[in-house]
């Protein structure tokens, strides 16, 4: 550490960040009295793990100015008053019919600024700025339909893992922080979203054919008692919750990167939350962006 607590007396927070922190005692989560100060603390603590992943990825903010029980809104476009230290990636959006100024979280101050905006959730695209049509992440999005539960998602996730490992790939897994899991394979440059989508769909079909509850086709995705192996997220412009992003759940859960061995029956998404994550001493996704793979 650069300096001990004593030196804190003499320096001001303004020497450490260009963000002017506001309303630190604002309650953000209903349970456990979690304030915006706690949210800032969380993002500052996980920044060393989160920032490398976020680098150059256009973000979608999910802001909760009055906490998880208040009004919320998504924000893709940099809001008025965005500070100079925030990198912006401007791109014409077909859906919006105009230029969108995407926020890139390329430094610690930007992350602090985002957290200070009460953007509890941080979502990223599966491609980086400048190669928007070419995904560098492949995503399997698994969610259970009741009465199935997280244990059932774990079963299917482990089957997806087997299929990917059989294909010589090394997949990474994280909880979505809500009900399901995300399985991600980092890709070498050059793939198209269509290729990624077809690959995920192919594996989904194979699993659905042989595994109870697993569903590979969208029309059945909301059937009770199923788990849809969602390939449709592999689309230009779609986003997923970033690893280590908080989620807007009552329990302040986190989209938590896990070791595959941790994904066992009995584990619950809410086990990984704003409090527990800071005491984890490993990053199961360490080096993910250096482990790019070919399909």
């Amino acid at each position: 550490m650069v300096s001990g607590p004593d030196s804190l007396e003499r320096i001001s927070i303004d020497n450490l960040t260009r963000v002017r922190l506001t309303r630190l005692d604002k309650a953000m989560y209903p349970a456990g009295l979690i304030t915006k100060g706690d949210v800032l603390m969380y993002y500052i603590r996980v920044a060393p793990l989160l920032l490398p992943f976020l680098r150059n990825r256009p973000l979608t903010l999910h802001r909760f100015p009055d906490g998880v029980e208040g009004e919320d809104f998504f924000e893709k476009d940099a809001p008025p008053g965005t500070p100079d230290f925030v990198d912006i990636f401007t791109r014409f959006s077909d859906t919006a019919g105009r230029d969108v100024h995407f926020i890139l979280c390329n430094n610690l101050d930007t992350l602090i600024w985002i957290a200070n905006l009460a953007s509890l959730e941080i979502h990223t695209t599966l491609s980086t700025a400048g190669s928007s049509e070419s995904p560098d992440l492949l995503l399997f999005d698994l969610d259970p339909e009741p009465p199935l539960q997280f244990d059932d998602v774990i079963d299917i996730a482990q089957i997806v893992r087997e299929h990917l490992e059989d294909a010589g790939l090394q997949p990474y897994v994280k909880t979505s922080g809500k009900k399901g899991v995300h399985i991600v394979v980092p890709l070498v440059p050059g793939y198209r979203f269509r290729e990624a989508r077809e690959f995920v769909h192919g594996i989904g079909r194979e699993i659905a054919r042989t595994t109870p509850h697993a569903v590979s086709e969208f029309p059945r995705s909301r059937d009770p008692g199923t788990i849809f192996i969602d390939y449709l997220q592999n689309v230009h412009g779609k986003t997923m919750a970033a690893p280590y992003s908080l989620r807007a759940t009552a329990g302040a859960s986190v989209s938590a990167p896990l070791r595959w061995e941790e994904l066992r029956h009995g584990v619950r998404p809410e086990d990984f939350n704003i409090k527990t994550m800071l005491s984890r001493h490993e990053d199961p996704w360490r080096g993910i962006l250096e482990a790019r793979q070919r399909l």
């Binding site: 550490m1 650069v2 320096i11 630190l24 349970a31 456990g32 500052i44 060393p48 920032l51 329990g251």
Partner: protein, 309 residues
């Protein structure tokens, strides 16, 4: 509460304490002679200060359990160290004092010309002369009368008023036996102490190898929560939220240490006093919110971690 009647209903160690006490008592007569001793009110700040300055007990007598007497001296235990300023006359810097001022003519009234009154209706008083009140004042008996033994954990702190240290008064064996017996059984002794004008419910428990007497508030001095209508109508929390709340509580669980909670106001005031004594001019600086300090620490660590990468 029924008083314990005789020593054969007491736990064995206490019966032995009775014998010891009796044996020791035989060597030296009990010193407590009502009337001869200075009567002092438990709650008078002057007495407390006096005892603190002189190191003298401000009460002595004995713990009485049926036929057993454990002679003790009572010492003040709690020092109120809350910081207070004196109020001065700004023009000449002289301290102000409080006086008894008649509300009608504004004249300062000497103690000798005062009398006690009970307000029956607004502005209408029933006047009592000191002699009239004598009958109502409980007799000071130099005794801490124990009625029963209770689990210390069953006592709720809402009733605790003030704690006093009990020190053995020439009968160390009886005292030591009572300490050991209470400690082993996890019990406290419940009873009463009578002082000048008031009978106080008390508990005596073992704290750090000593007997400590704590005066208790009477039942009607403590408001019951259910007088708030909202409390009985609270909703039952959701299972998942409860599980999370419990997890957070477990994460933050630890051993309590009172030393974790220094009197920050007092410390800050004394720091200011030092600066002022050294001739410094005090200028108020906008403080960072309390949380900001922890955030700064986290920020410094994160910045250092990122710099290493």
């Amino acid at each position: 509460m029924k008083p314990a009647r005789d020593s054969d209903t007491l736990p064995v160690p206490l019966a032995r304490a009775a014998k010891n006490a009796a044996r020791v008592a035989g060597k030296k007569p009990a010193p407590a002679v009502p009337g001869k001793k200075e009567e002092t009110d438990l709650l008078s700040p002057d007495d407390r200060e006096h005892a603190e300055k002189t190191g003298r007990p401000f009460w002595s007598g004995s713990i009485t359990i049926g036929l057993i007497n454990v002679p003790v001296r009572l010492y003040t235990m709690v020092r109120d160290r809350a910081f207070t300023f004196r109020l001065l006359h700004r023009a000449d810097g002289q301290p102000l004092r409080y006086d008894r001022v008649c509300s009608r003519d504004g004249i300062v009234i000497p103690w000798a010309d005062t009398v006690k009154g009970y307000e029956v209706r607004k502005g209408e008083f029933l006047v009592f002369e000191p002699d009239e009140l004598k009958g109502a004042v409980p007799e000071s008996s130099q005794k801490i009368r124990i009625d029963k033994f209770v689990s210390y954990l069953s006592l709720d702190p809402v009733y605790f008023e003030n704690s006093y240290l009990l020190i053995p008064d020439w009968s160390e064996e009886a005292y030591s036996l009572l300490v050991a017996a209470l400690q082993e059984l996890g019990r406290a002794a419940a009873g009463t102490i009578t002082l000048r004008t008031k009978e106080h419910p008390v508990v005596v428990h073992v704290y750090d190898g000593a007997l400590v007497l704590t005066t208790l508030r009477h039942a009607d001095e403590v408001m019951q929560p259910h007088s708030f209508a909202i409390l009985p109508t609270l909703s039952v929390p959701k299972e998942s939220e409860l599980a999370l709340a419990k997890r957070i509580i477990r994460d933050l669980s630890g051993d309590f240490s009172i030393n974790d909670y220094p009197d920050r106001y007092r410390e800050a005031i004394f720091a200011l006093i030092d600066r002022k004594l050294a001739g410094e001019k005090i200028v108020y600086e906008e403080p960072h919110p309390g949380e900001a300090k922890e955030l700064m620490q986290a920020l410094q660590e994160t910045i250092a971690t990122l710099a290493r990468k």
